[in-house]
């Protein structure tokens, strides 16, 4: 019977073309938007995790309260022991030390006078250690625009845009001016070994990357770090696990009244990322519901028009003795088939658009707000498994709902009046 109905759909374009186009358009939108939102939100979350929040992060209590000011005087000390303890307690997490601080970068001319100057945001990571995966995590190899990754103490990477602004070339000497952890003046000369472009507006404006040992010397922060970040070995963020580890760790510290005691935060507890994750889920659901509703209304209308056009056909079938229920069921099966076809076409179109946006993206660096949240300068969609079926939900549901509503007219036909109606 399905084969019979299918033949009817394919041969009678008046019956199928418009509904298939409507369903295909709706499904294209659903598939593309879910892929686009997933890509954007996932990029934002990954970017934050890699550069700032980790999957979990430990800071001193007082540092956490003022972290936007990057108060290095409130940094964690004795971090090697703390890291060892964490590695024993949570071996499924990779723990890394980082120091974030700000200062002034000064470039000298041939006479030693200031040639250029700019505020720098420095990120000190473990670059020289063989076991460290920090360079890989931050994609430094791919982000290199010129030069090379620092190989010895006294060498730094600098954001490419920043280097162009200050007219710095590879091998140039730059002077960092700032404060040590204890407030003394911190002055040090560094050699620029390479320039990088991370694709994150905040970083690309004025970032400097150095090895953590250089930063510890510069800031008089022996065995100290502003933060310890934890990354799940799988590379994927696990919300429940992160909460569990953070709660367990913080409970162990609960009895301490030391303002410098370590405190752990999950990714979602930082930079409003929890709200963002929840928001991305709600947005996907809302889009699907809105599209189902809007398409149902359109398809109901289309079904009504089709029903009017097939008024005679239904009348003859009723007159020949086919039950109202049978006609209604067949029109629903027809709707499922049309919805299915529209959904397949829409899914293909939606996936194609997603793939294009995944490869090309939209550059929003000029519109970037000053935010603590790290937003990639190019927004890209991402093809995700759910895109292969998500379009069928609104596609088939809306078509069936539309036909169910319009098909109700079948039950209103009165068999006694059929011949009179057909004479007309």
């Amino acid at each position: 019977m399905i084969q019979f109905i299918l033949k009817g759909i394919l041969r009678d374009k008046n019956r199928s073309l418009l509904p298939i186009i409507i369903v295909a358009l709706g499904v294209t939108l659903t598939v593309f938007l879910s892929g686009y939102l997933a890509g954007v939100f996932q990029d934002i979350i990954n970017q934050n995790a890699r550069f700032d929040t980790g999957h979990v992060k430990i800071m001193s209590r007082s540092y956490a309260d003022n972290k936007d000011q990057m108060p290095i005087d409130l940094a964690l000390l004795d971090v090697d022991q703390l890291q060892e303890g964490l590695e024993k307690s949570y071996p499924e997490v990779e723990w890394v030390k980082r120091i974030r601080f700000g200062g002034l970068l000064d470039i000298a001319d041939d006479n030693g006078n200031t040639k250029g100057q700019g505020p720098a945001s420095v990120m000190a990571i473990s670059l020289f250690s063989q076991e460290s995966r920090e360079a890989e995590r931050l994609n430094i190899e791919q982000a290199l625009v010129s030069g090379e990754i620092p190989g010895k103490n006294g060498e730094v990477l600098i954001a490419h845009d920043f280097s162009e602004k200050l007219n710095i070339e590879i091998g140039d000497e730059i002077t960092y001016v700032g404060s040590t952890m204890y407030g003394s003046m911190a002055f040090q000369n560094f050699i620029v070994s390479g320039t990088v472009h991370f694709g994150t507006a905040g970083f690309d404006r004025g970032a400097v990357v150095m090895d953590i040992s250089d930063a510890q010397t510069l800031l008089d922060m022996d065995n100290g770090a502003t933060e310890i970040l934890g990354y799940f070995e799988s590379g994927q963020y696990n919300s429940e696990k992160a909460f569990e580890i953070a709660n367990e760790f913080n409970q162990k510290q609960a009895s301490s009244d030391d303002e410098f005691a370590p405190k752990m935060f999950s990714l979602e507890q930082q930079n409003n990322l929890g709200d963002m994750l929840a928001y991305s889920n709600y947005m996907s659901q809302i889009i699907v519901i809105i599209l189902i509703f809007a398409m149902s209304v359109v398809l109901w209308n289309t079904g009504l028009l089709g029903g009017l056009r097939r008024y005679k056909e239904y009348g003859i079938r009723l007159a020949l003795g086919e039950s109202k229920g049978s006609i209604y069921r067949k029109s629903i099966i027809e709707a499922i088939l049309i919805g299915g076809m529209g959904s397949i076409i829409g899914t293909i179109l939606g996936l194609s658009a997603t793939y294009y946006m995944q490869e090309v993206g939209v550059d929003i660096s000029d519109l970037m707000p000053q935010s603590s949240m790290m937003i990639p300068s190019t927004l890209r969609a991402k093809m995700i498994p759910s895109q292969f079926y998500i379009g069928f939900i609104p596609g088939v549901c809306a078509m069936v709902l539309g036909n169910m509503l319009s098909g109700m007219g079948i039950y209103k036909r009165q068999t006694a009046h059929l011949f009179k109606e057909l004479e007309v």
Binding site: G112, S179, G183, S184, M185, Q188
Partner: protein, 248 residues
């Protein structure tokens, strides 16, 4: 009888004397404060005690100042700071650091940064114009601080480039020296509190030898600026206020 006369005379003179002082206008009080505190040139040896959240540090320096536009400071201790020098000429500030052998000019927002982790900013150090040149004063009340009767003066900036738009200052009615100050931003937010203690008469002037600066946006006990030695109006050779002296 003679004693009684004295008492009578005193009871007559003292109110007149106080009336005379109370008739001073706010601007006149400020003028007297400037005359007491300011001088054409100074050489000061001082110690900054910085009470941080983790430790307390002491920094010793020697400073030369001439007029409003020239100042030179050399840090003498501790070892990490020794040899660091700062030169201010008009509105420009240079810092020399011996470990990098670089002279760096500070400008813009860097001037609002803390000096050596203290509660003083470079801007605070650079501002040495007379109060009467920057502010309009108004007497808003009287209060006793450390058993000294003080006028409370509210100062409002008359120039655009004042570091603090508004100040509230408690002036000792007898010695014309401020004993307490509150510094406010344009928005009205309190930024710093200054407490002056250990007021001594040096070369005919009343001068506070211990000043506590407290940045209210920071936790802690603030920074004590202790004057170890001060000379008013000494002769300072011109080469001191020269960029070459930074590397000398």
């Amino acid at each position: 009888m003679r004693n009684n006369m004295k008492i009578w005379l005193l009871t007559l003179i003292i109110p007149f004397n106080l009336m005379g002082q109370s008739q001073l206008t706010a601007d006149e009080i400020l003028q007297k404060v400037d005359e007491n505190i300011s001088s054409n040139s100074t050489i000061t040896e001082s110690k900054m005690v910085i009470h941080g959240r983790r430790n307390t540090r002491e920094i010793v320096s020697k400073g030369y100042a001439e007029g409003n536009e020239k100042a030179f400071t050399e840090y003498l201790a501790p070892e990490r700071e020794k040899g660091t020098k700062m030169l201010k000429l008009e509105d420009k500030l240079w810092i020399y650091n011996p470990s990098t052998d670089r002279t760096i000019q500070l400008s813009g927002h860097m001037l609002r940064q803390s000096v050596m982790g203290s509660d003083l900013s470079y801007e605070d150090l650079m501002e040495d114009r007379q109060l009467t040149d920057i502010y309009d004063a108004q007497i808003t009340g009287e209060e006793v601080i450390d058993n000294r009767k003080c006028w409370i003066l509210e100062l409002n900036a008359t120039v655009e480039d004042a570091s603090y738009q508004k100040r509230k200052t408690w002036i000792d009615q007898e010695r014309f020296v401020p004993l307490k100050e509150e510094l406010y931003a344009k928005s009205g937010q309190l930024l710093k509190q200054i407490t002056m203690k250990n007021v001594e008469k040096i070369a005919g002037r009343w001068y506070p030898k211990n000043v506590n600066y407290k940045d209210v946006l920071k936790e802690g006990e603030g920074t004590d600026f202790i004057v170890l030695d001060i000379q008013f109006n000494p002769e300072i050779p011109d080469y001191i206020f020269n960029k070459a002296s930074l590397k000398r």
